[in-house]
Amino acid sequence: MRALNACRFILKSILSERATGLFIVLAVIFLTLSLSLSDINIAVKYKLLEDALLASQSFIMTLSAVFYAFLMMEKERKGGIFVFIFVGGCNRGEYLLSQFMALFTLISLILAAFLAVDAIFLSVFAEGINEGFLSRLTLSALASSLLGFLTLTLSRFVSNTNSVIYAIFLFFIGSGADELMLYASEENSIAAKALSQTVYYLLPNFSFFDPLAITVAFSKEFFALLYFGLYGSLLFFAAHFKFKKEVLRVG
């Protein structure tokens, strides 16, 4: 319960930033641009509109995950937000959990808003929202949340700015993990094969959240959810391990 209250407090604090307004403007611009493509027929009706919506909304979710994770850490290290939370009776573990929960709730809220807007626009301009579209956008939200978790965890080990840089780098590498593996197998290079396998199995593999990636052994959606749960927990415990020994300072 204390973690939930702390989560609500963090969420209010980050959403009150001016950047939230800018994200909404960006989403409206992307939506308008996507709708301007709705009349172009590319063999499959409304494919271009759906792909444009998915690409732009995934991009916004990715951007907001990194930005808000960074903002949370800035508020902690420069604004001392943890003081208010610890006064409320939370311990370090609950505070960390509330940060992860706030980020996940935020991405879920963005996803819900996008789904509501898409349902309206796709019903008016196309044939409504389909299962594939729903699944792709949800998987993208999970990938964005994991990226946010990764930024939060890395910031426990390095500075806030560096954690953003490392997280973005890992996100790019992890998103292309399956393609790297396929490319390496086609190239027949031992170095490329070894590198691609290391990337695939050791680094956070964001390609599991790509519905167009090479299929895993069982249900793609279920596997992505499972991977998100497991890797998210791993990141939380790694962050907790470091955070419990950290000397808290403001400024």
Partner: protein, 220 residues
């Protein structure tokens, strides 16, 4: 921060050189997207289906721009364009269908069509439609390979999503005919031998018997 940026710059440079397309390959293509589609897909991430849509819009012009009609279209350029689309969005069946149908019928380049289908199948292995396209290309080719036909027909039949219909066409009988056509040559020979032996026994006409005997000798 400078240290982190430095590490990443070195990382990206290493990756770039490891997966760098050959200078010759790069020179032949108009952009990095076409010269190395898999790396492009990896870099584009969730933007890749949108990039595939634009690649498709651009690629359909290749046929229109060919000087001297459709036959003069640059096959290699066409293949690379559709290989890129198959890599960026392997679920874009209509574009892939157009590309492989063009390649297998106009320039009669079955191998290029197979390259595109194999790429689509490697990235989207559960789509039996690509296997069906491959089967159609093999059947309509000048020298169909019976072994490939049999494997493909069996695989399509065994696919859990195949219910005897392809698009709006009922194709299960067609697949059975393909299987019969591509069936085991040895078993077919044995069956024919049995039938000819039965005919030989039950025929009284001497000239027909002689003809059957000759055929049986040929079969043995």
């Amino acid at each position: 921060m400078a240290k982190a940026l430095g590490i990443h710059a070195v990382g990206f440079i290493l990756l770039f050189f490891l997966f760098l397309p050959s200078p010759c390959k790069q020179k032949n293509e108009s952009s990095f997207i076409y010269s190395n589609p898999l790396i492009s897909k990896a870099a584009l991430g969730s933007l890749s289906p949108l990039a595939a849509d634009f690649a498709w819009l651009e690629s359909t012009k290749i046929g229109e721009m060919g000087k001297g009609g459709t036959l003069a279209v640059n096959t290699s350029e066409f293949k690379n364009a559709f290989l890129t689309i198959a890599s960026l969005d392997p679920s874009f069946y209509h574009a892939i269908n157009y590309g492989v149908s063009f390649l297998s019928t106009i320039p009669k380049d079955k191998d290029s069509a197979y390259d595109i289908l194999d790429r689509a199948l490697s990235l989207h292995p559960n789509d039996f439609r690509f296997e069906y396209l491959k089967l159609i290309i093999e059947v309509t080719s000048e020298q169909p390979n019976k072994e490939i036909l049999k494997t493909l027909a069996m695989s399509i039949f065994a696919h859990p999503e195949f219910n005897g219909v392809f698009g709006t066409m009922k194709v299960d009988d067609f697949l059975l005919d393909i299987l019969a056509f591509a069936g085991d040559e040895h078993a077919k020979k044995e069956q024919l031998k049995k039938e000819l032996t039965w005919l030989h026994k039950n025929t009284s006409d001497k000239s027909k018997k002689a003809l059957i005997e000759t055929k049986l000798k040929e079969l043995n």
